[in-house]
Every structure is written in C-alpha cells, then in structure tokens.
C-alpha cells in the first residue's frame, strides 16, 4: 500500500462511520488537514513524504473510529428527556406482569389431576413463557420510546423562575397515611363480622326446581382455621389503631407488623398444604349439573388468592425488615 492509498483508506474508514449527509465534506476536510500536516513535516525534516511519516501522522490523528466519534453528537436510543418516563412504564408493566405470572402459577398448581412428577417440566415451561413475555414487553416498550425519541420535538431547556417555596414536601417514610390506616381497619372489621356472624352470605345461590337454593362456599376445614384468622385480623386492627394514635411508624409497630405477616405466612402455608378450603362435597351433593366445573373453578381461585396473599405477605415482611434494619443517615441540617 503506497502512502496515498494509506491516506485514502484512513479517510474512507472514517467516512463509513459518519452520517451520509456530512460524509463527503468531512472526508475532504480530514484529507486536506492530513496533507497540511505532512507538508509541514516534510519541510521541517527536509525529506519527501514517506510511509513512515504518514504512519506517524495518522497515529497522531488517532484511530478512524475515534475521529468519526468526535464529529458526532451523543446519540441515544432513549434520551435523558424520556428516560424517567420509560423507566416508570417498565416498572409498572413488569409489576403487573409479575403479579399475573404469580396468579397463573397459583392456578397451575391448583389444577386437579396434576401429577407431582409433571410439575417441574410444567413449571419450567411456564417460567420460560413468563420470561419470554417479559422480554417481549420490554422490547415493545423500548421500540415505542425509541420512536418517540425520534418523533417528539426536543424540549428546550426550561428557564422558568424557580421558587423554592413551591417545592413539594419530601415524603416521610415514617409518616402513616391516616386514610389508608382507617380503610384497613374498616376492611378488617368488616371481614371479621362477615366471616363470624354472617357466614351464610359466603355461599353460592341459584334457582333449583323453582326454589332459591344456597350452598356454602367454604368447607368445614376453612372454618377450623377461622380462630387463627380472627386472631390475626384482630391484632391487625390493634396495630392499625396504634399507628393512628402514633401518626408515625415506630420500630415497635414495625416489629408488630413483621410478627403479623409471619403469622399470616404460616397460616396461609398451612391452608395451602392442608385440605381444600372450598366445600367441594357440598357443591357436588347439590346435584347441580355445573357443580363439578364450578368446584374446580372455585378451588383454583382459592389457591390463586392464597398464593397471592402469601407473596404479598413475604413482600410486606421484607419491606418492614428493610426499613427496620437500614442504616439511617444523619440529618446535616438538624446537626448543624
């Protein structure tokens, strides 16, 4: 390769990395600059341009990739303007898909007639499908945001006057939401009343031979668990009442919540492992044509709900433990 070919190859390689619109102009400018450099070197050293001189000059310029990069502005698939929204959407979609996947797994395990030795391949297949679904969802979201990045006009830097008094208050993790706490108390009290004093409401009603017939939904096994459920719900009301009084989370109430969640996990695990909480026999004895299918559906729903409760309790426990064990950084303003 002679010196001219070497320069042309160098310029060509830079051009390949550049946008077509500017390529020829930048190539001409780089070629001209290299020739200027070589002319100057040749005069300084008193010898004609040779291969060694060209190699040295091109090394000084830098690799073609480096030079091409320096002519281009930073390019983003999803730029800093859209990234926070993109990240929010990804988290929401993944959370929803995660919950749906757990419900699906719950249903899968609760299907009657599923042999134990079939479970591992079924589980692997389902997990594979869930993983593929997550990747596909992420890919579609990235695609949509990449298009938005190119289509939406770039927002000019906001230069509005800034008033620190209008800043939103920093959320206090220790502060308790009164509305949420009251709502939780009401729901727990309602559930206690319903399951203990009006269990007949928890039934399936239908017209049979011209008469309204009701069949209890839950089995005797379920009502065997009721004292423990009552205990957990009752303590839940006590915990929320304490929180309402304190207005903030304290280590004691957090440990109380952890203990309740662990109790819940233990109880739900026993319920999942034990006999069915659905009154399957009662449904079948009703003689209703759809009883068999209905029993199967209710069984699946009950298992799905129990699995969901189990997961939520585990997440709650982990959150409370994290808040209890994390190191709190000192407040520099308060210290000063």
């Amino acid at each position: 390769m002679d010196v001219k070919e070497m320069i042309e190859s160098y310029v060509y390689e830079i051009g390949q990395e550049l946008p077509r619109k500017q390529r020829s102009d930048i190539e001409n400018e780089i070629r001209s600059s290299i020739e200027d450099l070589l002319e100057n070197r040749s005069q300084q050293e008193g010898r004609p341009v040779d291969e060694e001189m060209v190699v040295e000059a091109l090394k000084e310029f830098g690799s073609p990739e480096k030079i091409a990069r320096s002519y281009q502005e930073a390019r983003y698939l999803i730029g800093p303007q859209l990234f926070p929204l993109f990240w929010l959407v990804i988290r929401i979609v993944f959370a929803v898909l995660g919950v749906l996947a757990l419900v699906r797994l719950g249903f899968m395990f609760s299907q009657p007639g599923v042999a134990l030795n079939n479970l591992p391949p079924m589980l692997l297949e389902t997990l594979g499908e869930i993983f593929t679904g997550l990747i596909a969802a992420a890919g579609n979201i990235v695609l949509v945001f990449a298009i938005l990045e190119r289509v939406l006009p770039k927002e000019a830097e906001k230069d509005e006057p800034f008033d620190p008094r209008k800043l939103k208050a920093k959320p206090d993790r220790e502060r308790v939401s009164r509305l949420e706490t009251i709502l939780e108390i009401v729901i727990l009290a309602f559930a206690l009343l319903l399951f203990n004093f009006y269990p007949q409401v928890l039934s399936i009603g239908f017209v049979r031979h011209g008469q309204w017939t009701q069949i209890p939904l839950f089995s005797l096994t379920f009502f065997g668990y009721l004292p423990f459920i009552n205990l957990l719900w009752g303590l839940g009301i006590v915990k929320n009442a304490l929180l309402l009084r304190q207005g903030v989370q304290r280590p004691l109430t957090r440990w109380f919540a952890v203990a309740l969640s662990l109790g819940g996990i233990a109880l739900v695990s026993v319920m999942l492992a034990g006999e069915s909480i659905i009154d399957r026999a009662g449904l079948l004895a009703s003689g209703w044509a759809q009883a068999e299918n209905l029993a199967m559906i209710f069984q699946s729903i009950a298992t799905g709900v129990l699995v969901l409760i189990l997961v939520l309790e585990v997440v709650d426990t982990a959150k409370e433990l994290y808040q209890l064990l994390r190191k709190k950084s000192p407040d520099p303003v308060m210290q000063a």
């Binding site: 600059s33 100057n40 000084e60 030079i67 320096s70 002519y71």
Partner: protein, 110 residues
Amino acid sequence: MEKGTAIENVGLELRRGVIVLAALSQLRQDGYGYSVLKSLSEKGLEVDQGTLYPLLRRLESQGWLRSDWRVESDRPRRYYALSPEGEKALQQLIQEWKNMVVTINKILEE
C-alpha cells in the same frame, strides 16, 4: 477511578472551554484547520486534531464561524473566519475569561 485519570479528566474539562476561546481568537483573520492548530501550538496550547476540527465545524453550525473551500497550489482547503455574530461572542468570552482569571486568582491566593 485512578487518581491520575481523574486529574487528567478535570484538566481536560478545564481546557475544553478555553479551546473555544483560543480557536475563535485565531480566526479574526481567515485560517484553515491546520493553520489554527499550528498557531495555537506555537503559542503553547497543544490541541488534538480530533478535538479542533470537529469544534470548528460545530462553531460554524452555531453561526460563530463562516467557511469556504479555496484551492491553493492544486490543494483544496477549507478556510474559516469569524462571522459578525462570532465577533460579538469572542468579545464577550474574552471579558468572561478576564473576570474568571481575576476571580480564580483571588480565590487561589487566599
């Protein structure tokens, strides 16, 4: 990050802003890329080719420089010169630089 690299990066950041001022100051009269590079080097400011040439194009695209191709002794060269807008920008940047030198010197002498 290594200590040496961190210092180099801060040094590069410091030089980046100054190079714009230095390059503009050399283009009160027409000049081509290599002539600006050489002129800065002779005055003690070494600038990388990969930094200066793209910078000249960016300054042109923001309207501070104008350029045209000229053929001299069978060699095409792109000549740059300050635009009227670039003249104004240069004056403001010079003032900015002088203020900054005074301020930083005052801080460093404390």
